[in-house]
C-alpha cells in the first residue's frame, strides 16, 4: 500500500501578497502584483515592469537574521516560517532528525551573484563585502532554514529551473514514502533576477504592461520573485498529531522532453500530465481544475493548450484551466510551489483562481480559462502543471484533504 502524502502547512510570499490569508484574498479578488520595478533603474532594459515582493524587509520573525542572508533565503525563510508555525512542527512531538528541507530554485542567490559580477565588470570589486561570496552555493538557503529551526534531517536544494517547486514537492513525498524522513519542508524560491529580466527581455518574451495568459494579444511573461513552502508528511502521522490537512498529493508525473533547450514540446507536456494521472490512478475525466503553467508567452500557452487537449480530449473543454501568473508573473523556481499553494487554497475554500487580464479569446487557446473573476465552486481533484528550460516538466495532482 502506497503511503499517502498530505500537506499540513503552507507559507507563501508572492508579489501580490505575503502570507496565506492575504494570498487567499488576492487570488479570490484577482489582485495583480505586477508593477514598475523599484529595486533598480530599468531605463536600459526593454521593459520596466515585473513582480517584486513588497515589504519583505519589514517582516518581524521574532528572531535575529544573520546579516549576510541573501534575498532568496529571506523569501524562503518567510514562507518556511509561516508553514512551519502553521503545521506546528516545533510543538515538540516530532524528532528534529526526521525533519528535512528540500527547496527548489532556478538561480539560488541570484542577486548576490549579480552584485559580485557587476562589481567585477566595473572594477569595483574592492567595495564588496566578503560575506557575499558565501551565497554562491545555493544550499545556503535550505541550510539556513534547518539551522534556524533546529532541524537535523536531509537538507538540500534542487535546481530544476521553472519546475523546481513541483520537483522538490514530488521528491519530498518520495523521501517520506521511502522512509528517509517523516516531515519534509518542500517548496521553491527565487529572488528577482536581472539575468532573467535581461535574458527573457532579449528574446522579447516579456510583456510590456500586463501578463495575459491564453489571451489572443498576450505579449509575454513577467519576471517575478517569491517563495512557496509546503509541509509534507504521511497521512497517519498528520492525523495522529492532529495537524490540519490542506490537501493530499495524489500523484506526480515527471519527464524530460529531450527535444530543445528552450522551445516547449506539447507532447512532452502531455506526457507528464498522463504520467501524473497514471500515478494517481485517476481517469482524466476526474480532474476538476488545471492550474496551468501559463506563462503568457505565445508559444507556451498555445503548446500547453494543445497538450491539455491531447490528454483530456473532449473533456478538455469542460475543465477550467487558469494561470495565476496573470496576477503574480513568473516567480521562476518558486512558481510551481506557489501554484501548489494556490491549489491547496482552491481545494479548501472551494474556488478557482482566475486568469486576470483576459480580454480577447485566441482561436488557438479555446479552453475555459476562468477569465478575470474567481469562480466559487467545489473542486475535488486539481492538476498543477510546470514546464521548464531543458524540457524538464512536472505535473502534480492534488486532492481534497
Amino acid at each position: 500500500m502506497k503511503k499517502e502524502i498530505v500537506i499540513t502547512g503552507i507559507g507563501v510570499v508572492a508579489p501580490n501578497a505575503i502570507g496565506r490569508d492575504h494570498f487567499l484574498r488576492a487570488l479570490q479578488e484577482g489582485v495583480s502584483g505586477i508593477d514598475e520595478i523599484k529595486a533598480f533603474d530599468t531605463k536600459d532594459y526593454p521593459v520596466h515592469r515585473g513582480g517584486e515582493v513588497k515589504g519583505l524587509e519589514t517582516i518581524d520573525f521574532g528572531f535575529e537574521l544573520s546579516a549576510y542572508l541573501g534575498r532568496t533565503a529571506r523569501l524562503a525563510l518567510v514562507a518556511a516560517h509561516e508553514a512551519i508555525a502553521e503545521a506546528k512542527l516545533l510543538a515538540g512531538s516530532l524528532d528534529p532528525k526526521r525533519i528535512g528541507v528540500i527547496l527548489g530554485t532556478t538561480s539560488g542567490e541570484a542577486q548576490a551573484i549579480e552584485t559580485v559580477d557587476e562589481a567585477w565588470a566595473l572594477g569595483k570589486q574592492e567595495q564588496l563585502l566578503p560575506d557575499i561570496y558565501a551565497d554562491f552555493s545555493s544550499n545556503i538557503v535550505a541550510s539556513s532554514i534547518s539551522s534556524i529551526f533546529g532541524f537535523a534531517g536531509p537538507t538540500m536544494m534542487l535546481a530544476n529551473a521553472c519546475s523546481s517547486g513541483n520537483f522538490a514537492i514530488s521528491f519530498g513525498g518520495e523521501m517520506i514514502r521511502q522512509g528517509e524522513a517523516d516531515i519534509i519542508i518542500a517548496g521553491g524560491c527565487d529572488a528577482f533576477s536581472k539575468v532573467a529580466f535581461a535574458g527573457f527581455g532579449s528574446v522579447h518574451a516579456i510583456a510590456p504592461e500586463i501578463c495575459q495568459p491564453f489571451d489572443r494579444n498576450r505579449r509575454g511573461m513577467m519576471v517575478s520573485e517569491g517563495a512557496g513552502v509546503v509541509i509534507l508528511e504521511e497521512r497517519h502521522q498528520a492525523e495522529r498529531r492532529g495537524a490540519e490537512i490542506y490537501a493530499t498529493i495524489l500523484g506526480s508525473g515527471l519527464g524530460c522532453d529531450a527535444f530543445h533547450l528552450t522551445a516547449p514540446d506539447p507532447e512532452g507536456m502531455a506526457n507528464v500530465m498522463r504520467l501524473a494521472l497514471k500515478d494517481a490512478g485517476l481517469a482524466s475525466s476526474e480532474v476538476g481544475y488545471i492550474n496551468a503553467h501559463g506563462t503568457g508567452t505565445t508559444i507556451n500557452d498555445a503548446s500547453e493548450t494543445d497538450a491539455i487537449k491531447r490528454v483530456f480530449a473532449d473533456h478538455a473543454y469542460r475543465i477550467p484551466v487558469s494561470s495565476i501568473k496573470s496576477m503574480i508573473g513568473h516567480t521562476m523556481g518558486a512558481a510551481s510551489a506557489i501554484e501548489t499553494i494556490a491549489c491547496c487554497l482552491a481545494l479548501q475554500h472551494e474556488f478557482l483562481p482566475p486568469t486576470i487580464n483576459y480580454q480577447e479569446p485566441d482561436p488557438q487557446c479555446d479552453l475555459d480559462y476562468v477569465p478575470n473573476r474567481a469562480r466559487f465552486q467545489r473542486v475535488d481533484v486539481i492538476m498543477n502543471n510546470s514546464f521548464a528550460f531543458g524540457g524538464n516538466n512536472a505535473s502534480l495532482i492534488l486532492g481534497r484533504s
Binding site: S138, N139, S143, T155, A161, E180, K194, G199, A258
Partner: protein, 409 residues
Amino acid sequence: MNPRICISGIGVISPLGIGCESYWASLAAGRDGVSQVNRFDRSPLRCRLGAQVLDFDAAALIGAKGLRYIDRLSQFAIAAARLALEDAGVSLEEIEANRRGIVLGTAFGGLTSQQDFNRERVLEGPQWVSPMKFPNTPINALSYQIPIRFQMKLVNVTISSGMTSSLEAMRYAGLMLRRRPDALLLCGGVEELSFLAYYGTYFMNELAGISGDEISCPFDQRRNGYILGEGGALMVLETLQGLEQRRGKGLAEIRGYGSAFAPRQGNLAVKINAVATAMQTAIQNAAIQPHQIDYIAASANSGPQTDLIEAKAVAQVFGEKASSIPISAIKSMLGEAFGASGALQVAAAILALQRGILPPTINIETLDPECSCINCLTEMGRRREVRYALVNSIDRYGSVVSLVLGRIE
C-alpha cells in the same frame, strides 16, 4: 523487497585524468592534481593553486558541433556522460528513451556563464545580451544537452547542495530506481573551477584566518584550508534486475544512504554527532555491521575543523576498530571540487573495490595527533580486499551524507 541498486559504468573528467583508467592510474600512484591556476587571470589574487582539468579536449570527446554555445561546465557533463555510458556498455537501442534519465549534482552551476552574461549586461547594456548564452545561466544549465544528445526522457534533475550535491543526487537516483526498477539513470556530479568561486573561496578563507593556498594535506598537522578543484564523475545506475536483463556487468552496489544536519554555528560535539549519525544510518540501511566496512573514502579536504570532525566521528562510530579501517582522503590529490567531490570519491571507491588496491592520502608529513584515532592511509598500492566501502560528504553549511558501497554478490 527493494530492488538492488547497481553501478555499471563510470565516466570521469578530473585533474588526475580523463576516463577511469587514467584516473585510477593517477590515484593509485598518488599523483598530485594541484597546479598553478592558469585558466583565468588571477593577478588580483594572492592565491595561485587549484586542481584543474588540464587535458580536456572537448571536440575529441563530444564532437565539435555547437561547442561555442556549450559552456565548459556542460562540456564536462556531456563528456562524463558519454564515458559512463560507454563504460557500462549500454547500447541506447536496448532501453527506450522514457526509461533513461539523469540526476546531476553541482554546487555552483554555470557561475562562469553567469559572469560572462552579467559582464555583457553591465558593459554592453541589457538590450545587447546574447540570447544564445542566456540558457546557460540557470544553475542546472549543465544538464540540458545530455537528454537531447542521449535521448533521455524519464527525468532530468539537478541537485545543487554544495559539497553533498553528488551524494544527494545518488540518493535521488536510488529512490527513483526503487519506484522504476526498469530505469537506467546517469548520476553523479560536475563542477568547474570558476574565477569567482575561486576568488570567493580565497576571500572566505581569509575571513576564517586560513590560507587554503599552500598544500592539500587532509588530517595533517599543517592543514590550512582546502584548495579548490574541478571535474566530474557520472555513473550509470540501474537495478540488478535491469542489469541482468540487458546482460550488463555491474561494478558495485549501493547498499545504503544516511544523512544528517548540524548547523554551522553549532558546537563541535553536535557536528561530530551529525557526521556519526550519517555514517551509522548508512551502515544500518546497508544491513551490515560497522566492522564490515573495509575502506572509508573520507570527505576530508584539508580544512582545520572539518577534518577533525570527520576523524572524531569515525572514532565514534567504529570504536577501537577505527584505528584499523583504512581511510583515505583523495581530496589531497583532487582538491575540493564541491558538487563533483562525492562522485569522484564514489568512483575511486568503486575502482578500489574492483581492483583490491586502496588510493592513498598524499602530502601527509605529520598526522595531526587529534586525528590519530583513525588509520589514515598514506602508502601507495596498499592491497586490501574490499567488500564494503563507506563514502562521506560533509558540506560547510551543515549537511552530511554517507553512502555504503558493496560488491555485487
